[in-house]
């Protein structure tokens, strides 16, 4: 019996320490896996970066809308666009793929807590969100004359982490409801209109009134406004780049209710699968 190889350290024995160790291991491997899957990692990071470079830096350089710098508006909007994409494609399509392959069944038969897998995928989406926000911020500062303080950047990161959760739940619902073959298509059909109608591609103030009216129904609108509200806050203008007609609380409530709806759908779909299993 060969024991020449170094044995990996045994997992800690206590309950909480072991659970944390499992979560950490799971998250590490989910992230490595996502990073190595070039079709995912390059497009999830590439599209927001590409759109920002095109629409925010090359086309509308130095333009303003209502006194707000377009390059900065788009920095916030495309950051949200990127985070939502990372969550929907990483979790939605990811869960659908793992489910259809029977891989999740093998993991369920193991002692792994099911939450470990979900949290690992969520943390991976957050990590990609942080990467996207950082690249966009760098591009905006260097190429778009955007002034961004460190405090604002950290607030953007914090919002990325919190804002990933509603869309992670949406991804989970999609993964449980939509069959694997149609998952990428359905995800795109929801992701792109939702982003546009939430004002993530073109600032809402220059879109038709009809679209502006339905925007509050979009979770992307709420997260986008929260992100814009970080920029250029002054005593006279505490809402920054966001529309002062809506309060910060209303946006958080919008995201919270969206999260609950998505979790409800996910729970129903999960129970239906269980009963048929």
């Amino acid at each position: 019996m060969s024991t020449a190889a170094l044995n990996l350290p045994a997992a800690p024995a206590t309950g909480l320490a072991r659970s944390l160790s499992i979560f950490a291991t799971e998250t590490r491997y989910e992230f490595i896996r996502a990073l190595r899957t070039r079709t995912f990692s390059l497009s999830v990071i590439g599209f927001p970066v590409m759109f920002y470079c095109l629409f925010g830096l090359m086309m509308n350089r130095d333009a303003t809308v209502n006194g707000h710098q377009v390059a900065k508006i788009m920095l916030g909007s495309y950051a949200v666009f990127g985070v939502v994409g990372a969550a929907l494609f990483g979790i939605g399509v990811g869960v659908a793929a793992d489910l259809s392959a029977g891989w999740l069944e093998l993991k369920r038969a193991s002692p792994m807590p099911p939450l470990a897998y979900l949290l690992a995928k969520c943390c991976t989406a957050i990590a990609f969100g942080v990467i996207i926000v950082s690249i966009l911020s760098l591009l905006g500062i260097t190429g778009g004359h955007v002034q961004l303080s460190l405090a604002d950047y950290l607030r953007m990161l914090g919002l990325t982490i919190a804002g990933c959760v509603p869309f992670a739940c949406m991804g989970l619902a999609l993964g449980l409801v939509v069959p694997f073959n149609s998952a990428p298509g359905v995800t795109n059909l929801l992701y792109l209109p939702m982003s546009f109608l939430g004002g993530l591609w073109v600032p809402l103030s220059i879109l038709p009134k009809a679209i502006q009216k339905i925007a509050p129904a979009m979770p992307t609108f709420h997260l986008g406004q929260l992100m814009l509200g970080i920029f250029d806050r002054t005593a006279a203008n505490p809402r920054g780049y966001a529309d002062p007609a809506h309060s910060v609380l209303s946006h958080w409530l919008g995201l919270a209710s969206f999260t609950c709806i998505m979790l409800g759908i996910a729970a129903i779909a999960f129970n239906r699968r269980e009963q048929n299993a």
Binding site: M1, S2, T3, A4, A5, N7, L8, A10, A11, A13, R18, S21, I22, T25, E26, Y29, I32, R33, R36, T37, A97, D98, S100, A101, G102, W103, E105, L106, R108, A109, S110, P111, M112, P113, E274, Q275, N276, A277
Partner: protein, 330 residues
């Protein structure tokens, strides 16, 4: 290549029912009925026990309920009626799962993780995992540990799944069609590993379509059809039951049924009167005699006809027994 040539080499335990019945029951399905929402009844009042240190092969035609039984034992599905117990607990209990390993028919595992990363991930789930080097050696993965799962051949992927089943050093292992896609050397290697597991006190439940595999490995075979246990016993017993099941006038159920074939001039009526004969046929001098006391029958035949040639004494084939058992009850 002796390991390849002798399928039964290395099997040291006598595979009799008495040897295994004395051991404790560590997993059981008791009066299980499983009805799906579309009305299909997958298991119908089925009961089966698994004992420590035994290899049990579950055989049955497609749709018989083998995979459903395995899913119930793994806690991936819950029964409509009846109870499932592993180590005295519900199979969904993490403490029970910590002592269970499974190799299921998985279509695709994450392709952008290396073999050693897959093993490390599964090892992290268990409180007392098997040492990494032992897993790699047992699954025959030396040399391909750093390869991405997506780059592996079909046989290498199967061996990786076997490594994941072993990762937690489990006390009970479920193998669902484990040797599909393996070449003969890899298949015999896996058989040797399975025997080693049972020898060290672990229990293995194996479903397979390769009857030769069940014959070579199992201490006990359970034949399932239509959601019910059709018969169970050692491979020899099942073969005998299959050979005699189509003949309802006999009550023979011993493990000694043999088919004797030869060229002989003995008349067919005499053949039918030989000791223990269940069936006898004579076609153009070529006799086929099925008897449950083959030595006595053979002694008489050799005494009666000194010109007897082309003698062949064969144990009933598991294929024939299996077909007979599942045909009668479908």
């Amino acid at each position: 290549m002796t390991a390849v040539m002798e399928p039964t080499a290395g099997r040291t335990e006598p595979r009799t029912a008495a040897a295994t019945e004395a051991r404790e029951v560590i997993a059981s399905l008791t009066n299980i009925t499983k009805r799906y929402s579309n009305g299909v009844v997958a298991l119908d009042n089925l009961s089966l026990d698994l004992r420590r240190g035994e290899i049990v092969a579950v055989l049955g035609p497609n749709g018989a309920g083998k995979s459903t039984a395995v899913k119930l034992l793994l806690g991936l599905s819950s029964p409509t009626a009846g109870t499932v117990r592993i180590f005295g607990a519900d199979p969904r209990d993490p403490a029970a799962r910590a002592r269970t390993g499974a190799m299921l028919q998985v279509g695709r595992a994450p392709e952008m993780l290396r073999v050693r990363e897959h093993i490390a991930m599964f090892r992290s789930y268990y409180p007392n995992p098997m040492p990494y080097a032992d897993i790699v050696q047992a699954a025959g993965l030396e040399g391909i540990e750093t390869r991405m799962f997506g780059q592996l051949s079909g046989g290498q992927k199967q061996r990786t799944f076997f490594a994941l089943a072993l990762a937690g050093n489990p006390d009970i292992i479920f193998l669902d069609e484990p040797t599909v896609g393996l070449d003969i050397e890899a298949r015999r290697g896996l058989w040797a590993q399975i025997r080693g597991l049972a020898a060290s006190g672990k229990t293995v439940l194996l479903t397979t379509h390769y009857l030769e595999e069940a014959d070579a490995l199992a201490h006990r075979i359970i034949v399932i059809n239509g959601g019910r246990v059709v018969c169970q016993g050692t491979p020899a017993e099942v073969k005998s039951m299959g050979a005699t099941s189509h003949n309802s006038t006999t009550t023979a159920s011993t493990a000694t049924v043999r088919t004797i074939r030869c060229q002989t001039s003995i008349a067919v009526e005499t053949l039918r009167g030989l000791p223990g004969v269940i069936e006898a046929n004579l076609v153009a001098g070529h006799a086929t005699v099925v008897s449950d006391r083959p030595e006595a029958a053979l002694r008489e035949m050799l005494a009666l006809d000194t010109t007897l040639t082309s003698l062949e004494v064969a144990a009933p084939a598991l294929e024939d027994a299996f077909l007979a058992l599942t045909a009668n009850h479908s």
